[in-house]
């Protein structure tokens, strides 16, 4: 089959590889009909997540059709149209039972490798480095889905592929961002990053009763989308002082909830960016934390900072004094998609959330390198490019 493989930093190629096979009884094989790019892939492509190997198939946000099931698969059958959650959960460990699926004890074959860095192993993730299991990703014609009964969900007939594909990763991440931010009716919510994840967080914040959502980014087309599709007020951080602007917008108190939907490759203007870029380049700091710092500074006293933008290692200059003395709550995590899917289908059906506008560029696998360059450089008003391996 054809698959889009990582061959080194900013080097993707389509290769001919063997078709995947059932390796364990609870596996299923899914024929991929749509597979989206995600901001997390950029961290791999730009070389900020260690343990990638040349030849790894990337991609983790996808839908498809079940073509084969292992002997231990009970809820799925050939022909089912499914969305598969990007994190893999066994369904039986303490963490899966508590619906914290991305913390699964049992789904990461490289758990010991990861334990050396994070002390405890976390769940495997499709196409997301060997630290996270080394599972082959979804930018391919077929993919093997372990623990398929738990990770693959039948898509209701009245939900289109164009919406369903983002229920794999972007939508649940946004939902969990708002949930961890403890959004309550009447809250003012600030979201850094108007990408797919940030905008899903905005829509979900409204779904939880937020009074007002403020989007912060520098890309005008994304801010325009945030206003149009996600109902947000907007701040372009290149034009103005974000902290002042947020005070202004909140009657001088600061937002109740601050969501970091940017992560370790945050871009900033001025001297802070030079500082972070240099340290990251010298490997003195692995992640650039400009957004996290700003969110902690902006948050109102007693408020909550929620982190879904991905960090991999160490950051620098976190304002602990502000966190401590303002009595903030900080939460973060990879999302627990399996927990949210049925509810998300329901919210989508009632049009309370709508991810469809994220699909700006349907492309073929062969266009992989170009599509990722476009997504990385944010050209052509790209929100997300989505591969259709069979077109």
């Amino acid at each position: 089959m054809k698959a889009l493989c990582w061959n080194g930093v900013r080097d993707l190629r389509v290769e001919r590889v063997p078709d995947p096979e059932i390796l364990n009884p609870k596996d299923a094989i899914v024929k991929v009909t749509m597979s989206s790019v995600c901001g997390s892939d950029l961290h791999l492509i730009n070389g900020f997540v260690p343990s990638m190997k040349a030849g790894d198939i990337i991609g983790h946000e996808f839908i498809g059709e079940v073509v084969e099931t292992g002997a231990g698969v009970k809820n799925l059958k050939k022909g089912d149209r499914v969305v598969v959650i990007s994190v893999i959960g066994c369904g039986e460990c303490q963490y899966c039972k508590e619906e914290t699926w991305s913390l699964c004890d049992n789904s990461n074959p490289n758990g010991l490798l990861q334990e050396k860095i994070y002390q405890y192993p976390t769940a495997g993730i499709f196409g997301y480095s060997h630290l996270f299991g080394g599972y082959a990703g979804s930018h391919a014609e077929y993919i093997r889905v372990p623990f398929a009964d738990h990770g693959a969900f039948k898509i209701p007939e009245d939900i289109s592929d164009e919406k369903a594909v983002f229920v794999s990763d972007g939508v649940p991440t946004g939902y969990m961002a708002a949930e961890m931010a403890a959004v309550k009716p009447g809250d003012i919510v600030a979201v850094w990053g108007a990408g797919g994840v940030g905008q899903m967080a905005m829509q979900c914040a409204y779904a939880m009763g937020a009074e007002r959502v403020i989007a912060i980014d520098r890309l005008d087309y994304r801010l325009a989308n945030a206003a149009r599709y996600s109902g947000a007020d907007i701040i372009n951080y290149e034009d103005t002082d974000v902290l002042e602007e947020l005070k202004e917008a909140t009657g001088g108190r600061g937002p109740d909830c601050c969501i970091d939907a940017v992560g370790m490759e945050a871009h900033t203007t001025g001297i802070e960016h030079v500082y972070d870029k240099t340290k990251q380049f010298l490997r003195l700091e692995s992640d650039r934390a400009a957004v996290l710092r700003q969110a902690i500074a902006a948050c109102r006293k007693g408020g909550t900072v929620s982190i879904v933008g991905v960090y991999a290692g160490l950051v620098d200059k976190i304002p602990m004094g502000l966190f401590m003395n303002k009595g903030l709550t900080i939460r973060g995590g990879q999302m627990h998609g399996q927990k949210y899917v049925p509810m998300l289908f329901d919210l989508i059906r009632r049009e309370i959330i709508n991810p469809e506008f994220l699909l700006t560029h349907p492309v073929s696998l062969e266009a992989g390198q170009k599509a990722y360059e476009m997504f990385n450089d944010k050209t052509n008003k790209c929100m997300r490019a989505v591969f259709k391996p069979f077109n």
Binding site: M1, K26, A54, I57, E92, L112, Y135
Partner: protein
């Protein structure tokens, strides 16, 4: 690495040795295992790590022949040492009775202990163990007996005197707090060589041994909780 007192006495010292065998049996197995692994890991690019390959070859020789030229040279004998214990503690999300029952059925052990080929229970106490030596150097057999058993709480075993390799182990089972399954404490024990050289060699083995044990224990947890061991072996990639 954790070095503790032996969980068993000096019972493992063999009384009679042929003159040219100056490496004891547990040590022989570990030599073979460590050597085989080093070789398997580095044989593809021997020039990239000649020291490891040489060490590997040496350990395999030492394990197969039972003779260590270094010991002969130094006039050291490795049979009089304290045991080194490797400990792993972990929790599985299943009731204690179930976990105990699975473990006590020794035939189950090869499902998660990657180097065990087969365990056959001869009677209530005695069993025969067959293991693959890592790196594909061969197989090794020994007999063991259950020396202590408290149902749902503890199993202790030990290789039978004069069997091919000398080792011992113990698993304790406790209830995890808040009814969240069972805590297992696993201790494996073997004899390192004596003296400064022995310590060096033990330092080489111990992390390896601990890693194997941890991998096996993780696999045990996966088998008993999830019913299968997560793997990516055999999946496609663009690697040639």
């Amino acid at each position: 690495m954790k070095t503790e007192h032996a969980i068993h006495s000096g019972k493992h010292q063999r009384k009679h040795k042929k003159e040219f065998i100056n490496v004891n049996n547990a040590e022989r197995l570990i030599s073979l295992a460590a050597g085989g692994m080093l070789l398997a890991k580095h044989y593809k690019h021997p020039l990239a790590n000649p020291i490891k390959v040489l060490t590997g070859a040496f350990l395999v020789y030492r394990g197969l022949s039972g003779n260590c030229p270094l010991y002969t040279g130094l006039d050291k004998n490795s049979n009089e040492t304290n045991a080194i214990n490797t400990r792993v503690i972990f929790t599985v999300n299943k009731p204690r009775e179930e976990v105990y029952r699975y473990w006590r059925q020794l035939e189950n052990l090869p499902f998660f202990m990657s180097h065990l080929q087969r365990v056959e229970q001869k009677n209530d106490v005695e069993s025969e163990w067959i293991a693959r030596i890592p790196g594909g150097v061969g197989i090794i057999k020994w007999n063991a007996e259950i020396v202590k058993e408290i149902p749902n709480e503890l199993i202790g075993w030990q290789s039978i005197e004069n069997s091919t390799i000398n080792n011992a182990g113990k698993v304790e089972f406790y209830d995890a707090p808040r009814g969240q399954g069972t805590v297992l404490k696993v201790i494996f024990s073997y004899h390192p060589p004596a003296g400064a050289l022995g310590e060096g060699v033990a330092k080489l083995f111990n992390p390896l041994f601990k890693t194997i044990l941890k991998e096996d224990i993780r696999a045990f947890k996966q088998v008993i909780e999830a019913g299968e061991v997560a793997t990516i072996k055999g999946q496609p990639s663009g690697r040639k």
